[in-house]
Amino acid sequence: MNKPVLPPSLVENPRLDRWIRFQPDRTVRIATGKVEIGQGVVTAIGQIAADELDVPLDRVAVLAGDTTAGPDELYTSSSLSIEVSGSSVRLVCAEVRAKALERAALRLNCSRDDLTVVDGQFLQDGTPTGQDYWTVAAEIDFSQSVTGAAPVKPATAYTVVGQSVPRRDLPAKVSGTAFVHDVMPPNLLHARTLRQPCRGAVLSALDETAIRRAAKGDLQIVREANFVAFVSAVESVAHAAAVAAPLHAKWDNVRRIAPEQQEAAWLRGQPSDDRRIGAPPSETPPKQLVQMTISRPYVAHASMAPSCALAEFHDGHLTVRSHGQGMHLLRKNLAAALGLPVEAITARHLHGSGCYGHNGADDAALDASLIALRLPGQCIRLQWRREEEFGYEPVGPAMLVTLHVDLDDRGRPADWTTEIWSPTHVQRPGSNSGFLLATEALANPPPELVPSDPTEARGGGGTRNAVPIYDVPAHRILHHLILRAPVRTSALRGLGALPNVCAIEALLDELATRAGEDPLAYRLSILSDPRARRVLEGVAERAAWSARGPAGTGKGLGLACARYKNRSAYAAVVASVTVEKAVRVDRIWCLADAGLVINPDGVRNQLEGGIIQAISWTLKEQVRFDEQGIASLDWDSYPILRFSEIPEITADLVGGDGNPALGVGECSVGPTAAAVGNAVAHALGVRICDMPFTRERIMTSLLKRA
């Protein structure tokens, strides 16, 4: 028999006790390394465990993101939580269930096959035996490694998985204390920072007297090289100090950037690490070459809450509470930055506001820790200011995507090149991709890294979704990874998927027009993947695509389809828009195939959220630069989609059909942005190729048409 292939989380964390513990109050604690970031993963993991153990959901407690008791599952990213952590929890629970039944059968002197499990109790021929998980747990060796050999339930046997169970964390969030920001133990000290304007900048003077005067209260100033923090028992005092500080700080060696670097067009021609992925260069001259370029500027995570962390240093042990996406990695990165052994640090996850990728959360944890080490025995609550979050979070990189597509005699793609210019999509701390921000301000800053992007095996970064899902005989990617971006860039929901899907789907509309065919019919003529066809045809039917009107009327209907990372969930979207002075998205229909769905309403919520975020990016968002760096530092200068701009959204799922669960959190963003782009092109009769679709760009494109 072949050895079962374990998910990576189980390979790295094989011991059962890293995952599961039966507690005296007749609950079972399931630990996961993935954390709640508003996506509902804690509820979904609980559902998986409840079903596999036959324990009601209210007896399942989920511990998420704890370095002491839980598994290391890297970051909560890339729509992998259900695929990886969910399948790990399922295998662990199946194995523990088998072991528990084996113990119970021994005690009852019966066959394991005579026993069933109801509400965590073991029944023999339907009759309670007095045995349950909690009576036999002490006889199970939880230090054993999981083998993955115990059979899991078939999907048809699920009773909790597949149900729209309400989110377990929401009641607290509609009524009071819920976030790391809300933890304020007695004798807490509040802290704010003065940020180093850029790597290499040197603090040559700091007028502490003036800052203390502005703070209007008892204030401690913590300085370590170019890292400065203001600490006070009174939050407003620390805050006022930080607001005043930039006026009283003199920095040398500050790098200037040029405002035009904020545009994606600046990327072309910059020094880059170039590589080709896929087919070798075509040896025959093109017959009918079609080219198109789509761009997206730098965009922000723009979390509602500025980043926050608590840190406490007692007797040589540092305890950190953070809303970062991976507590074990945070612990390792903090250890390296602070010169502490990893065992001297505990990191625990507490909820924060939605992050949608790598924002300031980890950086705030180092800020808090640096202060805690200087003020041992005190609990430090560090929070970024609004302008600090906008100004210093790593932003989603600008991207320029040019497609070069040669057509065959039937007007179908014969040879396809996706050429991409982009700064890196991942500068997460550690693993040679990035640093915790404040390390650059310390005495021995880490050496600058040569940027790298996630590998193709991990779904790529700038190249994510650069391969069309359509039948293309020869496809290659030319990837220009820009070596020196003007600002720090890192993971933002979908990475390169949104610009790449926009480019691919825009081009397909153009090719359909050239062929004199309907965009849906044209796509279906080159789409073999039955699951992609199913969502595309389904969404077109829901949106009455066949009744689409002519182009250029000011009203437009556009469609798009993609499979996230070319291996996760499928999503097809139709957008209906009205374009006058601005673009208004009136309606969105989305149909997704995520295979086995743990919590249908949770998935719909994720689809809807991705749709709204993608519309916001497409229509409104761009990080602005000035000479100092990021200049869009508040919600007026970085507007996002508002209630009055929200379309009516219908997001549906097709049946799982026995397919395994596919990551769903990022699958709707690319198709939504692409569908909106195509709908705007249909409404105007001319395409806007640069995001965001501002009033100026609409006017320019109308002039182009005239």
Binding site: S175, A305, G354, E608
Partner: protein
């Protein structure tokens, strides 16, 4: 100086400089964490509270201006054990993802339903438009306010 006002129906005397923000008083002095810091600029709505039944941004409101006022925070609507119909409706609709914006939205929705028990969708949108939600739960939030309005109308005048 000591400032006296009522928070969620309880008389409070707070001895802080009068320029301290209501947000800081609620969170750091009274332990009412449901009112949240988002921007400090009246741009996001996370800190919305009712002052004498009017929604205001607590982040910029100096506490010295509030002597004798009635203040309602999200904790004043209800608790997980005894939810207000608005909170219940938000849970029924699963109207939220990260949830950071929700307490401010609940407050503006409360102010709306207090004066307009049967609002149109457009009236709800107008009342909530000063709030931001980054996760994209808007459609669910709008449905939740409609659901709450129906629940409250069924329950009759309090």
């Amino acid at each position: 100086m000591a400032i006296a006002f009522a928070v969620n129906g309880v008389a409070r005397h707070i001895d802080v400089p009068e320029t301290v923000s209501l947000l800081e008083v609620l969170r750091n002095h009274l332990g009412l964490m449901g009112t949240r810091y988002g921007c400090g600029l009246e741009q996001c709505g996370c800190c919305m509270v009712l002052v004498d039944d009017q929604p205001i941004h607590a982040c910029t409101r100096e506490v010295g201006s509030l002597a004798g006022c009635r203040i309602t925070t999200v904790e004043g609507l209800g608790s997980p054990a005894k939810l207000h119909p608005l909170q219940q409706a938000f849970l029924d609709e699963q109207a939220g993802q990260c949830g950071y914006c929700l307490s401010g939205l609940l407050i503006s929705a409360k102010a709306l339903l207090d004066r307009t028990p049967d609002p149109t969708r457009a009236e709800i949108v107008a009342a909530l438009d000063k709030h931001l939600c980054r996760c994209g739960a808007h459609q669910r939030i709008l449905r939740a306010v409609e659901r709450a309005a129906a629940l409250l109308r069924e329950a009759g005048p309090a």
